[in-house]
Symmetry: C2
């Protein structure tokens, strides 16, 4: 009977309700009751609850998350941060970032969390991580890659629990990481090429970031162990697509002797390489074998399809989120090092 819309026209423009107090006024109850009703607390009478919820719908009312989160000291937001440490021109749209981000976002939204995206540039902002962590905006932090910020991450991780990082695991490190055994992956890639009888190899990738450095050292180890005159040259290739393409072109023409196989630090590099070789009239894999790293969805879309070292991105993302959840709940979680897997397709 206090419901005015029954009297006025059915399509009457309902006044926009901005806060709980107003809605409480309309419903003739107190703000506390409205809050409990909207939260489906059992304490409030079922009839009042339904009435209030209907009223809220009718007036298009949504509780103000800012206020709610402040009061409850819980935000329901997870930050996904991408440190662009060693290669600041690397774009956030890097295909590996994007792929992992996509899977993480799916996983998190499914659990009712919102995702906040942060791009961090350590050179410009020394306590980049602190800023995210202590902003009071997020319940936890997922990080994609360690870049060259291992120590900075360690610092924060010692006092901040809900943090999980995609990347390498060094013995005794404080932060919880989920990632692939990069050294083994690099080794597998090189061994595969060596096993095919190729002796003159090149590693394409910039080794400032620790993950790629480990891949390189793995490949090196494989070549050294193999002996028999096998050798591995090294060309640092940046990760931004624009730079990458030219650098690879230069690399291909400036290398020593006749290269038979390329171990690439990522699928993106591998694809750019294949394309450059194609333009130089060098056939893959007949004239040169190319092996990638990551096994991104697009690895299957190249021609020839990419032979690559697979990281289990989907499984890894799920594990990152799972570990983060237990950490948010106060538990502890250990690091996860997943075995890489050789995926033989057509490029090597």
């Amino acid at each position: 009977m206090a419901d005015d819309s029954d009297i006025s026209a059915p399509e009457a423009p309902v006044r926009r309700v901005r806060n709980i107090a107003e809605l409480a006024g309309i419903a003739g109850v107190s703000a506390g009751t409205v809050s409990r009703a909207l939260a489906d607390k059992p304490m409030v009478n079922a009839r009042t609850r339904d009435r209030i919820q209907a009223l809220a719908r009718k007036h298009g009312f949504q509780v103000n998350q800012m206020a709610s989160k402040l009061r409850r000291q819980k935000t329901g937001v997870i930050a996904v941060v991408i440190p662009l440490g060693h290669d600041r021109r690397q774009h956030i749209s890097d295909p590996f970032f994007m792929t992992l981000l996509g899977v993480l976002a799916d996983e998190l939204t499914e659990r009712g969390y919102d995702v906040m995206l942060s791009r961090a540039i350590p050179q410009e902002d020394a306590n980049w991580l602190d800023r995210v962590v202590n902003s009071g905006m997020v319940d936890g932090v997922l990080m994609i890659g360690q870049s060259d910020q291992f120590d900075a991450i360690e610092d924060v991780a010692r006092s901040y629990k809900p943090l999980v990082v995609w990347g390498s695991n060094r013995a005794g490190q404080a932060h919880c990481s989920v990632g692939t055994d990069n050294f083994l992956g690099g080794r597998m890639a090189a061994e595969y090429l060596l096993g095919k009888g190729l002796r003159s190899l090149v590693f394409l990738g910039d080794t400032t970031g620790i993950e790629i450095d480990e891949r390189y050292r793995g490949a090196q180890a494989a070549v050294e162990d193999f002996g028999q005159g096998a050798r591995l040259q090294h060309m640092p290739i940046h990760l931004s697509i624009e730079e990458m393409t030219d650098e690879i072109g230069v690399a291909m023409t400036s290398l020593d002797g006749n290269i038979e196989g390329a171990v690439c630090a990522s699928d993106a590099i591998a694809m750019a390489t294949i394309r450059q070789l194609h333009e130089l009239g060098i056939r893959v894999p007949a004239d040169m074998a190319v092996i990638g790293f990551d096994d991104l969805p697009l690895a299957r879309h190249s021609v020839p399809q990419l032979t690559t070292i697979r990281q289990n991105i989907g499984g890894g993302a799920a594990q990152m989120v799972k570990r983060l959840m237990t950490k948010i709940e106060g538990g502890d979680a250990d690091a996860l090092v997943m075995p890489p897997e050789l995926v033989v397709r057509a490029s090597a």
Copy 2:
């Protein structure tokens, strides 16, 4: 002299300060002064300001964003939402989404905004958009694609100003959109193939979403206008990479007669198509021409490189953000329809 760290060990563990009041206590001033000092307000004495800022740094103090945002009624957060209306299995990691998201994120972080990522599934949640808009969590909303939610978007846009959508523009629509002339793009793609003497074409893409539907209708118009026995078949292909691949395989073998050219609704579809054709021993472009849509970065990485209809994603993203900013400041912004551009590479 009140500074205890000068007396105790240099690496003394400093107590973690959680709020302004605590820091104010340490500094011997009031909370208000601390707030002003940290915000660099000119009102506070330079010496006190520096002292307080130093203290804040030392104790690793960051103002609580939740509280700050609540008080200031401004969040500094922009939501980027992706409606998965017609194709819920479409993954958030779709390459077009990811590419646009990447550019948007770069653009927004540069302006000091944080980015909140939302995946919306209209079937499961009728007022998905309302929820984002009225959560009090964001200052504005950017939407990637309209999917089949044109009306829902219109509804919200009528009362909610700071909303900009990537997608099509229909005469008289209420929401501000930035996008490509999809009809013209589809037409250009088909005309290009027709101009090469190809007569039997197929359009690959599901037309439930309005953008792709317009591309299809553009291609149709081109074929009809051309006459001379040219014809266009249609195969709906879903957008998730997993489904796509099989569907294309089926499509290629079940189509009527000898297809000479494929107009693809996206680069992702085009690349999957090229690969499938490669496996069937059909050469591109010698046996069949394939033209994509989008010109994603990866279009240059396929072999052969993709001929495609270019959408100006970078420019469009910049325009979306610019329009959103003027809308946030209370201004008005009109829609932008960008001309597509034919990029001829090697696949057609």
